[in-house]
Amino acid sequence: MKGLGVNRRQFLGGTAAGLALAGSTKLTRRAFAADKVVRIGFLAPLTGEVAAWGLPGLYGCQIWAEQVNAAGGVNINGEPHRIEFSSYDDEYLADKALQGAQKLVLEDDVKFIMMLGGDPWPGVQPFANRAKMLVSTLLPSDLSPDTPYLIAPAEVHPIYNVTGVEWLAEQRPELKTVAMCAQEDALGLPSIATYRAAFEAAGIDIVYDKFFDISTTDFAPIMTAMLASNPDIICLDTAYPDFVNLLTEQAFLQGFKGQMISCTCDNYQQIVDKTSPEFMEGFVFQFPDFDDPAMQQEQINFSNPKAFYETYQSRYPGTWSAVSWEYAAIMEQWKNAAEKAGSVEPLDVLEAMTEGGKGQHVFGPATWWGEELFGIDNALVGDWPVVAIRDGKAQIQEFRSIPAWWDKHKDLLLKHMSDLGQLWDQRT
């Protein structure tokens, strides 16, 4: 134990304390045994390269469940139900996801499964259809007419990115050219298509637009090539968090002085520290901090977002990201629908959630939409925040309507999605 700085006595003492704590946890659980429990499945990557879009979500859900359970749980026909999560690491693999979905449904008896979506979803789809299990995804590109039980109630990635571009074009009309890049995968392809449509709609010329391989580790040449096109704007598309970090750092190191925009800017504080507050000033992205004053407004459909954010930050400092709140926001919608339906059964909740084609999105009233893009109206779409870094802190600049943009420019988006084979009937 020398190497760990722990002697035998400390180790034994620690072990005893751990066992005592485990025992006390068991007692606490027993004390709650009379309550009814609803189990919810969390099936997302918790290890590996994509864990950054799974694990913070699980942290968020656990905090959300603590807050909801402390306030009496979910009220089903007057009876309180405690929420408990069963998680399964799908490692972003379809076979593991299938295994996990079966465990969650058949062994843990979950009533709802939340997934990141993407590559693992096709492995789960036939089973979810057979089991008529309600499943949510963060990636609406998983939706198709063959997925009646799959919903995208939190985000319509990457369509909301149009709001950031539209806002930027209005605020800074002097910006005329953009260079953008993305990894060539299930996230990058539809995202590039969306940004192409958004920049074209905003009258901004795309002077550089290339994919890079997902296994890329050296981003200096990519940024050099982008800067060689002399753009006013650098757009990082929906690059993975590490890629955004490294690309931004390269832009800083290579002396870029213009505007930056990206879908996400997870752990932006680290990027600010690595670059400078001046460099990051005005960096536009799409995911707010939940202590933002704009998030405390009445139309926000999330219980006490500030307390949620502060608990999260104190418990998991430096890990707040786009997905920290998204799964929890989905749970908020599920809870409302279950209480409305008076049932936790998947089909009852789905019916209550989608009744009348309208719903309550985390950022306010929204509509179930997506037929033309996804072949099914299972994506909830409404307003989305445009966020910019001001004095080293993310601040919501404005909520913008995605449907309003869609009504004006949908032909452009459909064209670019089609060009990259991203419409539902083109996805093999």
């Binding site: 918790l46 290890t47 590996g48 864990a51 694990l55 699980l58 998680s87 399964y88 690491d89 972003y92 693999l93 379809a94 076979d95 299938l98 295994q99 079966q102 465990k103 058949l106 062994e107 590559d119 096709p122 492995g123 789809q125 036939p126 057979r130 060539e184 995968d185 299930a186 392809l189 391989d213 997902i214 084979g421 996805r427 093999t428």
Partner: protein, 340 residues
């Protein structure tokens, strides 16, 4: 013990193992059945990998060969409407063919250079799947791959993927067949020659053994069975993509094989079964799972450098030390190098 007694014991052991495999689906939880299906597929994969390593060459392309089988079978069944029953063996054939072509440049190298060369060749194939949306589906891969169906006279057509017990038995039968063929090959004159090449390739060459040809044979044979494993995987989960056959998966295969041990036929099987069960048992620990898995790996490699297959001999040696004095040579189990 007489030879006939040994044979009888071996057959009894195999019968018990077959009975266990047949009984498992009725004992385990339904979701664990899915785990067992993937485990059986992985057993084919590691045993076929060991077949390649018999000649002493370790490659990093084996999982890509699995992918070749998966992609070929998926494309043939989905795009060309070929029967899945025909597409699956053709998946194996395609992997064997690719291995045959690659063996010309790859077996000009040995040892570390072969390892790196095989990795580069594998990446080239994998990136081809990534780059071409037609017919490989690009980064998202291929979805809605048909599942095998069985039509019996007078009965409805059965989808063998649901309930999963059907696919479990299909996979178990194919696995038994693959393992039996590889075992027979290893015990044949070919297997002896492959072992000779491993230990004394120059000597083998000096007595007229065509070393290149035998290495190629092991590589092609191992790739064929890896392709079969890939086809089984593709038709069960119904979707494949290039990332599924990347370096991360190859590292798992290496770890399973090394931890199990390569001296005997059973070594990699013990490795994949033990580590997969452990990995699944630690699911409750979520993100801490890889760390626990890593510690166990280090302990295994530290205390059992010849793999888990050497554990019985190690335990008996420990017993001898504790009870005082070694047992007679006849009582002592054979060390893990007999190729059994």
């Amino acid at each position: 013990m007489r030879k006939s007694d040994n044979t009888l014991l071996r057959w009894l052991g195999l019968a018990a193992l077959a009975a266990l495999v047949a009984a498992l689906p009725f004992i385990v939880h339904p979701y664990q059945l899915i785990f067992l299906i993937f485990l059986l597929i992985n057993i084919i994969l590691v045993v076929s990998y060991r077949f390649v390593t018999i000649t002493g060459e370790w490659s990093l392309i084996h999982v890509v060969m699995m992918g070749v089988g998966a992609y070929t079978s998926a494309i043939l069944a989905k795009d060309l409407d070929l029967s899945v029953w025909l597409a699956m063996p053709l998946g194996g054939v395609a992997a064997a063919l690719i291995a045959y072509v690659l063996s010309f440049p790859l077996f000009r190298m040995k040892g570390f250079y072969f390892l790196i060369g095989s990795f580069a060749a594998g990446e080239a194939i994998r990136l081809t799947w990534n780059q071409f949306r037609e017919p490989f589906g690009g980064p998202k891969g291929i979805k809605l791959i048909p599942s095998p169906e069985l039509t019996l006279p007078g009965l409805e057509t059965i989808d063998l993927t649901f309930p999963p017990i059907n696919y479990y038995f299909l996979t178990a039968i194919i696995m038994a067949l693959c393992l039996w063929i590889m075992y027979r090959l290893e015990k044949s004159r070919i297997g002896l020659t492959l072992n000779a090449i491993h230990w004394k390739d120059v000597l083998a060459e000096s007595v007229g053994v065509d070393v290149w040809r035998y290495r190629m044979l092991a590589f092609v044979t191992g790739s064929f069975f890896a392709g079969i494993a890939g086809a089984l995987l593709a038709h069960y989960i119904g979707t494949i993509n290039p990332d599924r056959f990347g370096l991360a998966m190859m590292l798992y295969v290496l770890v399973w094989t090394i931890v199990g041990g390569t001296a005997t036929f059973a070594g990699p099987i013990i490795g994949v079964v033990a580590l997969s069960v452990l990995d699944e048992a630690f699911r409750a620990f979520d993100q801490f799972r890889p760390a626990i898995y890593g510690v166990l790996l280090i302990l295994t490699v530290r205390f059992l450098p010849n793999g888990l297959e050497a554990l019985p001999a190690k335990l008996l040696g420990l017993r001898d030390r504790l009870t005082g004095g070694p047992r007679t040579a006849a009582e002592r189990p054979r060390p893990a190098s007999g190729g059994e």
